[in-house]
């Protein structure tokens, strides 16, 4: 019964402890935990600093149920309880963050050094966030008011695996009503290194030199500026402009059809980016205003986001396509305009009503000789009402309802070259004009009860997600993984019904908690491999299936001595398809059960510091669906240490070191896109951050 063993986990901290290694659990027993009916965990910048390990998501992996799926050291994307991509929302200061959510090799497009706090909501939260928040929400706050007239910090960071080096600087200040905050982050990394000398990609055997994935180097340049004004009483308004630019190479041996014939000398340098490569730029301009009107608080947000992305590769003929004139394989150019308006109105002493509305308009255009995603326009509008009722000090209840209307207009696409059909030849149409309108009524209700020792939570609800352009209208070769992908214009909006519970007990130096959940999807949308071939490649088609998911996260923590903490945490998640071609199989990329043991020591000597030892064990995953492979279990040992010196004045110097995979274990991440091409996860590595605040 290894399953049961994995379920009975612990980690955390006593309610009043301030040991930062277990910030997660500390905040879980905060006022928020005692009031929220949903499973939410909030961490601040100090937590992210101390757990710094390459990317924001990797730094958040200590939260049970949260996992980073990493592509190299710089790129990683979040999953919550095994759901990611368009099944979760990333929001920044109240506005839904638009990335290029559909791709396996896209990062989060957020500067992690500009983050003040992150809240992770596990489970559906479409009530406040609309479509996509079916699996959870990662709500990033970057607009906290600076506390002092002038504050500044400089960080230097590095990662041994890809020989990453970077710098981040921040200046912020507040005088009278005026405030500002400016961030700049620069980072550069070399080719990603894995503990193997050969990998297998679509039956090709590829020898790696020095374990490096050729051409996976890259660079990132982020900047952000916020300026605002507050009357320090009722009104606060600010404007933020941010830009995230990233350029990186694609693993040269596992991209494109004929790359093995390339004349590029990829071994020339581990730091240069040759073809094939990608660059993305995300520009955001956002206005944020809050106003206190009597007892009611009002909030208004307006934003414009511009996502640009180009994928470049060597022009080569393929099938009937002649050699293209340039290296621009694909270009995506997406504009998103969004606005939200929300009000929180206390009614008497026991009720608080929240009302809100939001609208969004997107335009996506495409270019390049390769086709996979059509151009489209989409619009959405939503309206919600939520009541929070506190009948007694120990009990809180809430219930809400939301209505959404979404429309998408997909443009047809025809090849730029002719394909022979019989005795004639035509510009083949890849994707037809598609116009769809979706509406959804969703709801949620929950309760929270607590006393000195116990916290009990229960939440039920319905969530939804509108199918994206790729799912509706894709039609082309995915060169990243050698398959033909086809959308399905007839897909329905994906729905889910979920029940989510939480039980927590804490006394003295001991805390235990368990968060079970189950959800039923009448139509889960996913990319299904078929027995058919199209243009020489296996056809994968977007399909919807009835499905069930259920799981649990468990944590326990024990402060067994004044400066010592022992924690255990674990998670288990399982899914089943209940209809269609793959009835009886799991849903794709099922999260294997995992468990962590953490030992933490806190000390006060010339400032203060933490030392942590982590054992991370992951069970084998044999719950697979074509084309996945079973993935063996593994265990890694990780060490972390951080220290904060307080210097003269208010100045502080902090250091954080993470030693990952100390035993240099070779293992695979079942949920990673790299698993399909047999690329293992990094071996022993060190990441380091030095921060000076003044």
């Amino acid at each position: 019964m290894t399953k049961t063993l994995l379920l009975v986990m612990l980690l955390g901290t006593p309610p009043d402890s301030v040991i930062s290694l277990q910030d997660v659990t500390v905040s879980a027993r905060s006022a928020q935990a005692k009031a929220a009916t949903q499973n939410a965990v909030k961490v601040d910048a100090a937590y992210i600093d101390e757990h710094f390990s390459g990317s924001l998501m990797q730094s958040l992996e200590g939260i049970p149920g949260v996992k980073a799926v990493s592509i190299g050291t710089g790129l990683s994307r979040p999953t919550i309880r095994g759901l990611g991509y368009n099944r979760m929302v990333v929001s920044e200061d109240g506005i839904k963050h638009e990335g290029q959510q559909w791709g396996d090799d896209h990062g989060l497009e957020v500067d992690q050094f500009a983050v003040d706090a992150v809240e992770v909501i596990k489970g559906p939260a479409t009530l406040l966030y609309g479509s996509d928040a079916i699996g959870g929400v990662l709500a990033i706050t970057g607009n906290r008011l600076p506390a002092r007239p002038l504050e500044a910090s400089v960080s230097l960071f590095g990662h041994s695996n890809s020989l990453q080096g970077g710098l981040s600087a921040r200046v912020a200040g507040r005088s009278n009503g005026f405030f500002y905050k400016a961030n700049l982050t620069l980072s550069d990394y070399g080719d990603y290194r894995v503990p193997t000398d050969t990998i297998q990609y679509y039956s090709y055997r590829i020898a790696l030199r020095d374990g490096r994935l050729r051409n996976t180097a890259g660079t990132e340049r982020d900047m952000r500026l916020m300026v605002g004004w507050t009357d320090n009483e009722r009104l606060r308004t600010d404007i933020t402009v941010s830009n995230v630019y990233a350029r990186s190479g694609f693993f040269a041996d596992a991209h494109g059809m004929e790359v093995r014939l390339s004349n590029i000398d990829y071994n020339r340098s581990i730091r240069d980016v040759d073809l094939p490569s990608q660059w993305v730029n995300h520009l955001k301009v956002q206005s944020h205003t809050t106003y206190q009107l009597g007892t009611a608080s009002l909030e208004a947000n307006l934003a414009w986001q511009h996502n640009l992305r180009e994928e470049l590769s060597e022009p080569l003929s393929h099938g009937y396509m002649p050699t293209p004139p340039d290296s621009l394989e694909r270009r995506f150019d997406k504009h998103t305009f969004s606005g939200t308006l929300a009000a929180r109105i206390p009614l008497g002493a026991r009720h608080e009503v929240s009302l809100g509305t939001g609208a969004e308009h997107q335009r996506n255009s495409r270019d390049g000789w390769g086709f996979i995603i059509p151009a489209f326009e989409s619009s959405s509008w939503g309206l919600y009402a939520l009541d929070r009722w506190t009948p007694s000090e120990n009990l809180a209840l809430n219930a809400g309802v939301r209505y959404d209307l979404n429309a998408i207009d997909i443009h047809s696409y025809s090849d730029w070259y002719r394909t022979p059909v019989g005795s004639d030849s035509v510009f083949m149409q890849r994707s037809a004009d598609v116009r769809r309108t979706f509406s959804a009524l969703t709801w949620s209700a929950g309760a929270n009860w607590h006393n000195d020792d116990w916290i009990l939570r229960l939440n039920v609800g319905k969530a939804f997600r509108v199918p994206i352009a790729k799912e509706l209208g894709a039609n082309g070769v995915n060169y990243h993984i050698f398959r033909y992908e086809q959308g399905n214009a007839g897909l329905d909006p994906e729905r889910s019904y979920q029940v989510d519970a939480g039980i927590e007990w804490g006394r003295g130096a001991f805390v235990v908690k368990a968060d079970p959940y189950a959800s039923y999807f009448p139509n889960y949308i996913y990319l299904n491999p078929t027995p058919d071939y199209v243009e020489g490649l296996q056809l994968y088609r977007y399909t919807q299936t009835r499905a069930m998911r259920y799981g649990i996260e468990v944590e326990a923590a024990w402060a067994f001595a004044p400066q010592w903490e022992l924690g255990l945490r674990g998670q288990f998640c399982r899914s089943r398809q209940l209809s269609g071609d793959k009835r009886g199989y799991t849903l794709p990329f099922a999260l294997p059960p995992s468990a962590d043991v953490d030992l933490g020591w806190h000390y006060d000597y010339r400032g203060c510091g933490n030392v942590g030892l982590n054992l991370h064990a992951v069970a084998a995953q044999n719950e697979i669906v074509p084309p996945e492979k079973p993935t063996p279990g593994y265990m890694t040992v990780n060490l972390s240490a951080s220290h904060r010196f307080t210097l003269r004045g208010d100045r502080q110097l902090s250091l954080a070191v993470q030693l990952g995979n100390l035993l240099n274990t070779t293992y695979y991440d079942h949920t990673s896109y790299y698993r399909l091409i047999d690329v293992p996860e990094p071996g022993r590595h060190v990441s380091l951050r030095i921060k000076y605040e003044f």
Partner: protein, 156 residues
């Protein structure tokens, strides 16, 4: 109403926990067992010849379809499905292909079969580059698993 949905969902969950045993978890196979397979490793053909393709395809449940693709191996890359290194004339023979033979064709297997011997005649054009080629066979089963087999051949 909603209660009914949840009850149904949990019933489905309980059911799901113990079914799923009839899932096909095995890839199909491309074999030479019991037949005289063609082409076989390091076979040599004249341009203008016909390759009389013959391979046996099996699956534990039901076969899907197959595809044949031929591409130049003028750079001598290797496929993990074939460990055989054919004897190449000269050590440094790597060169750029000018007019390589490219062949890529999809074929259907009749429904309901779990053992099928495929016969296809493939004519080699006369005007293509001679040299080393990889002959790739791809096979799916009904569940969507795919098997790939690579055979090294040579055109003279």
């Amino acid at each position: 109403m909603k209660k009914a949905i949840f009850l149904a969902a949990f019933a489905a969950l309980a059911f799901a926990a113990c079914n799923g045993e009839d899932r096909d978890m095995d890839k199909p196979a491309i074999t030479t067992e019991g037949i005289t397979a063609s082409p076989s490793e390091c076979d040599s053909y004249e341009r203008g010849d016909t390759i009389r393709f013959c391979y046996r395809m099996t699956d534990n449940m039901e076969l899907g379809n197959f595809n044949i693709e031929v591409h130049g191996n003028h750079d001598h890359h290797t496929h993990s499905t074939s460990d055989i290194e054919c004897e190449h004339e000269g050590e440094e023979e790597h060169h750029d292909a000018e007019n390589p033979w490219v062949f890529n064709q999809d074929y259907q297997i009749p429904d309901g079969l779990h053992d099928y011997t495929a016969h296809v005649d493939i004519a080699i054009p006369t005007h293509v580059d001679p040299g080393d080629y990889h002959f790739m066979i791809r096979l799916t089963d009904k569940a969507g698993w795919q098997e790939i087999r690579s055979v090294a051949i040579e055109l003279e």
